[in-house]
Symmetry: none
Subunit: 215 residues, 4 copies
Amino acid sequence: MVARMHHSASPRKGRTGRPRSVETDHAILRATRAALVDLGWGRLTMSDVAARAGVAKTTLYRRWANKNELVVDAVAVLFDELELPDRGCLQSDIEGVVLQFGALLARPETKTALMAVVAESTTDEALRERIRSAIVDRQKRLVVLGRERAQQRGELPPDDTGPEGELAAAQAVGLIFDVIAGAIVHRTLVTAEPVDPAWAHQFSTVLLAGLRGLS
Amino acid sequence: MVARMHHSASPRKGRTGRPRSVETDHAILRATRAALVDLGWGRLTMSDVAARAGVAKTTLYRRWANKNELVVDAVAVLFDELELPDRGCLQSDIEGVVLQFGALLARPETKTALMAVVAESTTDEALRERIRSAIVDRQKRLVVLGRERAQQRGELPPDDTGPEGELAAAQAVGLIFDVIAGAIVHRTLVTAEPVDPAWAHQFSTVLLAGLRGLS
Amino acid sequence: MVARMHHSASPRKGRTGRPRSVETDHAILRATRAALVDLGWGRLTMSDVAARAGVAKTTLYRRWANKNELVVDAVAVLFDELELPDRGCLQSDIEGVVLQFGALLARPETKTALMAVVAESTTDEALRERIRSAIVDRQKRLVVLGRERAQQRGELPPDDTGPEGELAAAQAVGLIFDVIAGAIVHRTLVTAEPVDPAWAHQFSTVLLAGLRGLS
Amino acid sequence: MVARMHHSASPRKGRTGRPRSVETDHAILRATRAALVDLGWGRLTMSDVAARAGVAKTTLYRRWANKNELVVDAVAVLFDELELPDRGCLQSDIEGVVLQFGALLARPETKTALMAVVAESTTDEALRERIRSAIVDRQKRLVVLGRERAQQRGELPPDDTGPEGELAAAQAVGLIFDVIAGAIVHRTLVTAEPVDPAWAHQFSTVLLAGLRGLS
DNA sequence: CTTTAATCGAGACGGTACGTCCGGTCTTATG
DNA sequence: CATAAGACCGGACGTACCGTCTCGATTAAAG
């Protein structure tokens, strides 16, 4: 008899009892991000989040199974702000999104939380799945979109048609995403140096040359 | 009353009392890795490590300031196993080291620990420094070495001479390292798919094309 | 906005809206006793009682202010079963009622609940009053009745007439009640040995000798 | 693997590690009584006791399995203060000890706690045993002593010799203890009226007459 | 037959204590 | 001195229960 956890897509027709407050959800997520900024992942506590949100600890646990899942959701919405600017050419587009992503990772609430939940996810399959669906897969759209736009401009050759062409395209998207996201994360969190315009330019130059070499 | 912490290089002449057992160090680090394998970072406890090593908790804290630093050291030695094979051409060399790095990150003790300590390091300057010195900087040698070897073979142009040339070279090493390490980490931990020969080949193809585009 | 609480004797004319179900009251009290048997006072929960009674928690709290008051009422009705048998002589009458009382306190629902609510009553005046009116005072009738019957039989001297005589009689009733009820409760709950015929006989012998010494 | 709980009689020779502080034991028991006075059983919390004692909650749980056992021990020592005064005749002796017992039960720390733990003991065999050994059995000495003294004075007949005589004496002690303790507890906690000299006199008169009727 | 004002089941909610766990320090006795 | 053992403080964890609240759905009696 597993408790129903969070976010049933349907508006739960036929359900009885007092409905969950939707605003409470947002208040909790907001409070979580604020706590991340102030305290960082390591010192963030559920009690503190509850207090900031003006909510009982029970309410947190009724909606999220644990700290990790809460933090993933709290951070995930920030990633949805990313978008692919149309700056006229592929290199500029890449530089733009790299800078955005770098700026996002530089924010204390993402910096401290992202790697922590990824680390936990190595021993928690449910968490890994939540990260993938809430963050990773949602951002691959940027790569797909950039690729399409460049193909329309003629900067990249069109996809091969047919099933093996689609497979190759999907693999390419995965690889490129790993390279872009990985490099930015590594620079920000491990090397601990900023993703500034100069770096973004250098990186996108390398990447673009690499992409041309793919085909 | 600051405790003298760990690893004075000199055999500290003139000190009296019972000396620390060197074998104990290795036993603790071994126990730490074993605990990481069994429990993962999140569930690993100092008491458990102490018990596995047949040692008192006191002994741990006399040698490492806290859990994070212990784990960094326990994992760091694994990275020293990496080496750059000479397979005759740059692309093969890259593929070789990518596969090694991928295999290393696939091991449970690194997978679970690395991102965790990186996450902690965002709010712990001392820890960040220890990660850099114990892991990151030590592995940049691979990039430097591979670059030199490729230059000798004529696969890459020689560095510009003069101070601004050296600076550019250092920057390039940093960038390349972020790209390689970042991509592998991201594929392993976030995308959660294996770094196999096919991926290594595709990745090194892109990277090599990118490198040629750098100059 | 004080809620109207429970058991207005009058059928409250002039009120509209759906009336409370009377059967629900009994179902709840029955469920409470069942829960006491199964769980004991300490582990009994309001949710559990509600579930057993097939009723919402709200319904409980609409009728009783809190757990303590509910339990007092649930247990109180059991005490009304006590009666003074006419066995022909005072000593036999006492033995009879002692055995009845002993049997009642041996039942798990009273055993576990009675002392608990008494304990709570030390810091809850309303609860103490409810216990007194629902249980204690109602059972003093047994002492009064037995006394009268014995006086009619000539086993005890008649009360002194006049105000000071009545006072003395009331005091005597109080004392005797404390002795009887106290001894049985203590034997059952503290000494934890049964109130069997042998003990009842010995006790009533002592008590009767004591009573004769009173006058 | 049950943890060793509290008060091994032996001074535990051959044990290693930091020994438990004995003073801490007393500080905790003192704090518990203070909390009982201020808050009563129902509102007393382990955290509060720990804070009052200047001790971590862990330390409490290392020594007592739960709140109930702690409170029993905290209250038990108070009962050891009771003693049988030698006032020259049995009735006076009884009155003296009744008043003492009444005064003890009137204290907030005993009043609120005693019945609560007795109530819990109905569903907790270990607790019942602890109450018996820590409180009940220790106070039976008063009955035994008073009886002996009265026999020496010739106020009561000597015990029958022989095994059945001893059994009868033991039973009598049990009965008398139930009557005395029960009556005082009932008057104090249920009837909620004071055990004053007048009541003590009346009660002891009845009791004494009853005792004479026993033989 | 509608209106009205309550009751009812379900369950979310704020609050608070529970008993457990762990990090890191301190105190013993023994090398 | 180092060491093993384990007590200790502090504080977060996730659970449980109390008593309140908010829903939508009933249900009797009054109009």
